[in-house]
């Protein structure tokens, strides 16, 4: 229905106006419609990291695109927050300062939401309350082992065969 889609659209933009500057340390992003009629128009994202004048998101860097998509994903999540949120290597293209802002946001959101995340990144691992190590001592067979941060950093690069 048109009203519901429009309401969702507006709500996502409200969340984006908060989450994008939080993740980027500034800047702005919005969803825009490519046509008049919401029911058959497409939806595009415009995003400007702090200090940058680009219009299209296509010119953005790999890390900037990933962080922009993440701000959209978290905005969609906020529409109807589940009790937990699973993230699989969403921080892979981020440099350390973007990773730190990502971690700050996850810490804040984890007051109400349980986060289970896969990462190879030490900074992201350091904010975990619990670390689960997955190993493959035997070819093709997974096993679980509880690890601390030093073991986790060695484990993530253990030769699996």
């Amino acid at each position: 229905t048109r009203e519901r889609l429009q309401a969702t659209f507006d709500l996502v933009n409200q969340h984006l106006s908060v989450l994008f500057p939080t993740l980027f340390g500034g800047g702005q992003a919005q969803l825009v419609m490519t046509g008049e009629e919401i029911l058959d128009a497409g939806v595009q994202m415009t995003a400007q990291p702090p200090g940058k004048k680009n219009s299209s998101i296509h010119l953005l860097s790999g890390g900037e695109k990933a962080l922009t998509a993440l701000s959209l994903v978290f905005s969609l999540f906020q529409l109807n927050p589940a009790p937990f949120c699973l993230l699989d290597e969403v921080d892979a293209p981020l440099d350390d300062s973007n990773t730190e802002r990502f971690c700050e946001l996850v810490k804040k959101m984890s007051l109400h939401t349980q986060f289970i995340y896969i990462s190879h990144n030490k900074i992201t691992m350091e904010m975990a309350e619990q670390l689960v190590g997955v190993t493959m001592q035997e070819q093709g067979v997974s096993r679980i082992v509880a690890v601390d941060i030093e073991e986790a950093m060695r484990l993530k690069d253990a030769i699996p065969v």
Binding site: A41, A69, L72, A82, L111, E129, S142
Partner: protein, 168 residues
């Protein structure tokens, strides 16, 4: 509804019965390439009712059953069980009064399959109904798999609109 445990057996690389506990609010999963981390995510999607094999990186639903390795034969059955703490009574419907809710899914290589809540045989709809209003619906943004971020970046305007509609 906090997730407290996941139990896997015969699911992808988790051929041996395995239990993972989640006492914390922020749980990091770590390990080398191909060791099974994303398979845990697939297991959660699967037990919550995922009906598309492609979403689980397979070509058919049987692809989730452990199909052998250099040292092991294939097995005939995959099962995944999620255990939730429902002490706040947030679960919907007839399960709201249970302090703990165990959601389980089983698949046999011969095609036999089933869903269970607290060991009671139920339909897939009963699984998805529990999570009504909790944001864990089929295409909610609670599970962000490896590659989803780049799919959003590459999405054309028509595709991005579908993302929005699914969340509406």
């Amino acid at each position: 509804m906090r997730l407290t445990q996941i139990k896997l057996a015969g699911f992808k690389t988790f051929v041996d019965p395995t239990t993972i506990h989640f006492p914390g609010q922020r749980v990091g999963v770590v390990g080398p390439n191909g060791c099974g981390k994303s398979n845990v995510i697939d297991a959660m999607r699967w037990v919550l009712g995922e009906s598309s094999a492609r979403q689980l990186r397979g070509e058919s639903m049987q692809d989730v059953i452990f199909n052998g390795s250099g040292t092991r034969k294939p097995v005939g059955r995959a099962s995944v069980e999620l255990i939730f703490d429902n002490s706040l009574g947030k679960a919907a419907g007839q399960w709201s009064q249970y302090a703990e809710i165990a959601v389980k899914r089983v698949l046999h290589r011969n095609g036999e399959s089933g869903y269970y809540i607290n060991n009671l045989h139920v339909r897939r709809k009963d699984i998805t109904d529990i999570f009504l209003g909790t944001g864990l619906g089929a295409r909610a943004y609670a599970i962000i798999e490896q590659g989803m971020i780049s799919r959003i970046i590459e999405a054309r305007p028509e595709e991005l609109r579908v993302f929005l509609e699914e969340a509406a």
